[in-house]
């Protein structure tokens, strides 16, 4: 459908961009209205786009922000050359893309990365080459438990624990069944953290891992039901999550359990796809502020997208995350000495020195630091699916549990607590 209207959108968009870009009141970088000139600063980004999913929203948004920055003074007057590669969810292509950007193009940093394949493959390579990846779509443990990757998104672990906390405190859950993906470093890692959290509170939990290649979600549902749980935590990609909830609807069990989900189901098209059956029954953990959030930075993100992104680029959580990574990168670079911005080692050190950046897009402060793991975003909000729309039912709250202890200790050391 989107492609069907692509040609007309491109035609209309290319004409309208001329007017809107200059007329936009988006605030970017130095915000001086001067066109950046001179030698460009090379920045890389890798996303995944092939069946079964397109994760280009973060790099699209980061690219839009960089365009805006280039029209507003750039980095110390110099433009950013944002070089983006698609790994097509292929580990070999992911390694090739990183080698091209890091070795051949000598980018100073990676920004907006949003391919979980790429992160698993390239995390050691980034560390070896002393380059930081300010990612926006981390999903696997290797991404969060790496010295050279830091993401603005939460990933499945944090958002699942957030959903579990809400299920306990607001929905009275005592025994949660977490339904995750049978993918190494994803399902067992994130649902395992939910289990640890529940056990730390003297409660019960179990998890069911769904093989993404198996079309039958009924068996997973039956397994979850047989676990004795009183609450279901859906920790699946949106398409599979919808299929799982459809199977639950078929069994008519929405009222027999409380239902929560990690962030993937926080997507504008989900309430309509779920229909009226799930109205008021499903609570979803949101990693960043709501898409229509009234905060100044969220409004600025929307302005940047309207003025500098394509009309059909998604306005979703990943796009917010990509914008935020790009914004923090530019802020850091502009704080560096101008002669150092092309020095990768200096850029890496500057990024590692980020501490206490705030935005209304994120519930907590953003920081990096020199550590063997990074998970600055571990506070979020909860939305309810009601009347084919999302409604915030709990504003920003911080997650806790055994997994977060070392992270909280690191924050204390950085003076954030």
């Amino acid at each position: 459908m989107k492609k069907m209207t692509l040609i007309s959108l491109i035609a209309f968009g290319s004409l309208s961009m001329i007017g809107t870009a200059s007329a936009s009141d988006a605030v970017c970088g130095l915000d001086n209205g001067l066109l950046a000139t001179g030698e460009s600063i090379k920045v890389g980004g890798i996303y995944g786009n092939a069946a079964p999913g397109d994760f280009s929203a973060a790099t699209d948004a980061a690219g839009a922000y960089f365009k805006c920055v280039n029209e507003n003074g750039g980095i110390h007057g110099r433009p950013i050359e944002y070089m983006v590669e698609n790994d097509q969810w292929n580990p070999e292509l992911a390694a090739q893309a990183a080698a091209k950007l890091v070795d051949d193009e000598a980018v100073v940093a990676m920004v907006g990365n949003s391919s979980f394949v790429e992160m698993s493959v390239n995390a050691p390579m980034y560390a070896e080459n002393g380059i930081m990846a300010m990612a926006s779509g981390c999903a696997v443990s290797e991404c969060f438990e790496s010295s050279n990757i830091v993401s603005t998104n939460q990933g499945p672990l944090s958002s699942s624990v957030g959903a579990a906390i809400y299920a306990i405190e607001e929905l009275g859950a005592t025994n949660i069944s977490c339904i995750g993906m049978a993918i190494p470093s994803v399902g067992n890692w994130s649902c395992g953290a939910v289990q640890s959290y529940m056990e730390s509170k003297g409660l019960n939990a179990s998890f069911v891992l769904l093989n993404p290649a198996a079309p039958d979600v009924n068996s997973a549902l039956l397994e979850a039901m047989a676990s004795g749980a009183d609450s279901m935590l859906v920790n699946l990609p949106a398409g599979l999550g919808i299929a799982f909830l459809n199977a639950a609807e078929e069994q008519g069990i929405a009222d027999a359990y409380s239902w929560t989900s990690s962030t993937p189901l926080y997507d504008a098209s989900v309430p309509k796809a779920l229909g009226s059956y799930w109205s008021g029954k499903l609570f979803i953990s949101a990693e960043l502020t709501t898409i229509d959030g009234a905060g100044p930075d969220n409004q600025n993100w929307l302005k940047v997208m309207d003025a500098y992104a394509n009309a059909d680029d998604p306005r979703d959580t990943f796009a917010q995350s990509g914008y935020l990574s790009a914004k923090y990168f530019v802020k850091t670079m502009n704080q560096m000495a101008p002669e150092k911005v092309n020095d990768r080692a200096a850029v890496t050190e500057a990024i590692q020195g980020i501490n206490g950046y705030t935005s209304d897009l994120m519930c907590g402060p953003y920081y990096v630091g020199k550590a063997d793991r990074h998970m600055p975003n571990h506070a979020g909000m909860i939305v309810e699916v009601r009347d084919e729309a999302f409604h915030v039912v709990r504003d920003c709250f911080e997650y806790d549990g055994p997994y977060f202890q070392p992270i909280l200790e690191a924050e204390k050391a950085l003076g954030l607590r």
Partner: protein, 316 residues
């Protein structure tokens, strides 16, 4: 006839053995739930397998593009529903599109490969599948969509598991299609022509069988079944073209269990695969390898029926 019965008995024994092993020590009610759930998915595998066998018996082509064609059909139906076109019309148009796609391949591409080895014919349909999948993915970018039928709202309870009317329709349709196709192939002139064509194209041509007409009918029937199967997959599994396209793989396993000939065996094999796959969920060790089930079962059945004789890709 004896061999076919033996194959069916072997499948039944395999099913019973696996179910007993996996369900041992579990409450019968729990085992019953998983069996019924597996039947629901198995009937989808069977339906896909039947579509493959119908065409193979008539034309000698193992059509690997059935899943992709079905996916395109259900996406068209979904799209039309978004444009507020009456549901019944969207189903008809969706199935019409799949029939047209199958006929297009059958009339324009398949004749050019008629004298090639069956493997070449099968690989050509795989290429067609990837083209159709590419077109579908281009037209409908990855997004969250839901396709539902009015029959989803009606449900029955069996062994404490709610079964929607849609699932009942799938099981009954598989059964009806098996009977109808058997009757058509056995009792009608066109069916006789199809069987003759599949057995020996050269001689069929020499004795005056209208090859183009017969094959066109076979491709049309195949497209109809693919369209119907696509609608069912889209409703009961997921409205994701990639997933629907590759549902053809377990369907192939079911078809192979029926030796690409025996429609009854395909039906039973599809159900067996679904039930065994579902029952594997009960094993902490085996549940992570559930997607292997269709292929392991197909290999076991092949080893049983082969016994040094039939070569599926060199039948001509």
């Amino acid at each position: 006839m004896v061999k076919r019965t033996l194959t069916l008995l072997m499948l039944a024994a395999l099913l019973l053995g696996v179910c007993s092993f996996l369900g041992w020590g579990k409450p019968p009610k729990v085992v019953g739930l998983f069996v019924v759930s597996g039947m629901a998915v198995g009937s989808l595998y069977a339906l896909g397998g039947i579509g493959l066998v119908v065409l193979y018996r008539a034309t000698g082509v193992l059509n690997l593009s059935n899943g992709a064609i079905g996916a395109l059909g259900v996406m068209v139906a979904w799209q039309l529903q978004q444009w507020q076109i009456p549901e019944t019309a969207t189903w008809i148009i969706g199935i019409a599109v799949t029939t047209l796609m199958a006929l297009t391949y059958g009339r324009l591409i398949a004749p050019g490969l008629a004298w090639r080895d069956p493997v070449v014919k099968a690989v050509a349909t795989l290429g067609f599948a990837l083209i159709v999948l590419g077109i579908t993915a281009f037209a409908w970018e990855d997004d969250i969509r839901k396709f539902s039928l009015p029959s989803d709202k009606i449900a029955y309870t069996l062994l404490e598991l709610r079964i929607t009317l849609t699932r009942v329709i799938v099981v009954l349709s598989a059964l009806v299609i098996v009977i109808a196709v058997w009757f058509y192939l056995s009792k009608t002139r066109t069916g006789l022509n199809m069987r003759a064509l599949a057995d020996n194209r050269d001689i069929s041509a020499l004795i005056g069988i209208p090859i183009v007409k017969t094959e066109t009918i076979a491709w049309g029937i195949s497209g109809l079944i693919a369209g119907f199967t696509g609608l069912m997959f889209g409703d009961l599994v997921r409205l994701e073209p990639f997933v629907i396209t590759f549902m053809v793989i377990p369907a192939i396993s079911a078809a192979i269990c029926g030796q690409l000939r025996n429609l009854g065996a395909v039906l039973i094999a599809g159900l067996c695969i679904g039930i065994i796959e579902s029952m594997m969920t009960l094993s902490p060790v085996l549940k992570s390898v559930r997607p292997m089930a269709p292929f392991v079962i197909a290999i076991l059945v092949l080893m049983w029926v082969q016994r040094g004789r039939t070569n599926y890709f060199a039948g001509n």
